[in-house]
């Protein structure tokens, strides 16, 4: 007995799935760089908010000499056409944009996963109804659908209080709209995975042992779909941030006074030539953030599921 015990102790622990994933992820230089870039952007928008209050970032100046100032030592990113400090707005706008990205993706991933699981597992009429609905949603160009849904937000000035901050109610609208229009791709991926999993031995074994449908779906099938879900979620955050900026740029996004990286740009639309600092600064942060997220997602894909690797 003692001999067996020492044998067991000497034997190196096999790597767990997560250790293996972490090792593969860390080997991916771009992914690590992306993670660091993303962390520094997050650190910037959080630490920055200790230096400026949101009231300062949203305060419209009555002094006309403060309007549309180019970058200087006082305002390193300049001021916008109503005299607000673009640097402070980029910080608070970044918080909102990142928050929109994360919450919208939470909605779309939850919805996409649930629809995929239900359609794939139960099949039959439920499956064809759900998939026809997905097809209908996919047949309308995404931006057209998004704009039609967000039209009612334009000009809405009501706010709500969140953690002591007054935030435009349109933030909630945009989160819901982006979340509800971006789940279809994932639902198809999850559905096809479920179709290939549901007749495998371990699922049949679970059913034979008397496991309920809910238990089979969430305990036995869902864990096998985690890799594509995580990758889609990561890349989806970048997509949601870009979508938000595009909607806000067209004036159908988050409304003033709440800043986002998109609606800082909005005013630049009318005066592209004169106000380059108004779009270059938020533009830079958008690209850096989305780039970091894309690197991260790419690395996660390679680490989590080498079969999904694309050239």
């Amino acid at each position: 007995m003692a001999a067996i015990a020492t044998l067991n102790e000497k034997k190196p622990q096999p790597e767990s799935l997560w250790q293996m994933t972490l090792r593969r992820f860390l080997r991916h230089r771009m992914a690590v760089a992306g993670a660091l870039m993303l962390l520094s952007v997050i650190a910037f928008v959080i630490i920055g908010s200790f230096f400026f209050t949101e009231g300062y970032a949203n305060r419209v100046s009555l002094d006309r000499s403060m309007y549309s100032l180019p970058p200087s030592s006082d305002f390193i990113f300049g001021t916008d056409p109503v005299g607000r400090d673009v640097f402070a707005r980029v910080i608070y706008g970044g918080q909102i944009s990142l928050m929109i990205g994360i919450t919208a993706v939470t909605i779309s991933v939850t919805l996409g996963t649930l629809v995929g699981l239900v359609a794939g597992y139960f099949g039959g009429l439920v499956d064809s109804l759900l998939m026809r609905f997905v097809e209908a949603m996919l047949s309308i160009p995404t931006l057209v659908l998004l704009l039609m849904l967000s039209r009612s937000l334009a000009g809405n000035t009501s706010t709500f209080n969140f953690l002591g901050r007054d935030i435009s109610i349109t933030v909630v609208g945009i989160v819901l709209i982006i979340g509800l229009t971006s789940w279809m791709g994932l639902s198809r991926i999850v559905r096809s995975l479920v179709l290939s999993l549901k007749n495998q031995e371990f699922v049949i074994a679970a059913r034979t042992l008397g496991a309920s449908d809910v238990r089979i779906v969430f305990v036995h099938i869902l864990p096998n779909c985690v890799a594509p879900i995580i990758v889609t979620a990561t890349l989806g955050i970048g997509g949601a941030i870009i979508t938000e900026t595009a909607l806000s740029f067209l004036g159908f996004g988050v409304q003033q006074p709440t800043a986002t990286w998109g609606n800082i740009l909005d005013r630049a639309r009318q005066q592209v030539d004169e106000l380059w600092w108004l779009w270059l600064t938020p533009g830079f942060f958008i690209v850096i953030t989305v780039l970091a997220i894309n690197f991260l997602g790419d690395g996660l894909r390679d680490a989590l599921d080498p079969r999904m690797r694309q050239n």
């Binding site: 931006l143 039609m148 870009i242």
Partner: protein
Amino acid sequence: MTRYILRRLLEAVPLLTLITIFVFLLLQVSGDPLAYLAQDPRVREGDRALLRARYGLDDPLPVRFVTWLVGDDWRVRDCNGDGTPDCPGVTQGILRGDLGESIRTRQPVEVVFANALPNTLLLGLTVQVVVIIVALCLGIFTALRPYSAVDNVLTGFSFIAFSMPVFLIALLLVQVFAIQFRAWGLPFLPTGGMYDARGDRSLDELIRHMILPVLSLSLIQIAGYSRYIRATMLEVINSDYIRTARAKGLINRRIVFLHALKNASLPIITLIALDIPGILSGAVITETIFSWPGMGRLFIQSLEQLDPPVLMVFVLITAVAVVLFQLVADILYAMLDPRVRYN
């Protein structure tokens, strides 16, 4: 094959019906299309009510939907509110070929689209041609030299392009080629419209006005297409029959362009067919920035002022195009690849 096409077209009917109902309901809750008249002091309240009745805006929801489908020339409404029906309906409904009238411009909807569609096709097809040519060159070149310096630089560029919102690219291009070039005294490019404001409608002017919109639309797409072409080419080049061709001593150019590209082009053609309907909906953002009078700008304008007749037809056109081109992509695939058969 005919049976297959017929079945697919029949399957599209419930899909389009679903979309129609969805968009119709969405537009009904979007607000009052005549709200803008309330701000106009020249319009009297009575005229507004008359107009509302004429457009059938006060009808119950199911009636409005039926009216949109089959028209209202079979009934007489009470427009002036005196209790007796006095204004007969005039529309015939979309199922009888009457697309209706734009509330914004008072033009028939087909005229509105006839003005916008050619401009969008001109822009979109030019972009598609540019994208395919450039992406083919880049994709094949990098597939032949994977992980070379050029390949790595292009990979980096496409990552950046993927991470850029299209309006940022457009704004950057405007800043450089229109504003800075002008400031430096170089020949600069115009930033809006299709023709010169002074009325110069020559082809020269048109091309000058197209350069910036085409560039800003192409860059992101080139990144996507060239990566895709590189991946499919790499896959084919590493297959057995290419090795056989090499072993038989065929010259490289022949192998690449005749043997490899032929097979690699299958998924590429499908991709292109699936992307074509996207052209029809226009480039909403780019057309807005460059004031290009196409479908995208029409959509934004119709949305801003809420013009349901135009918006309904817009969504229907794009949805029909998506359905049709999905079918086209599948048929093309079956025609080009003898291994694929539909029954």
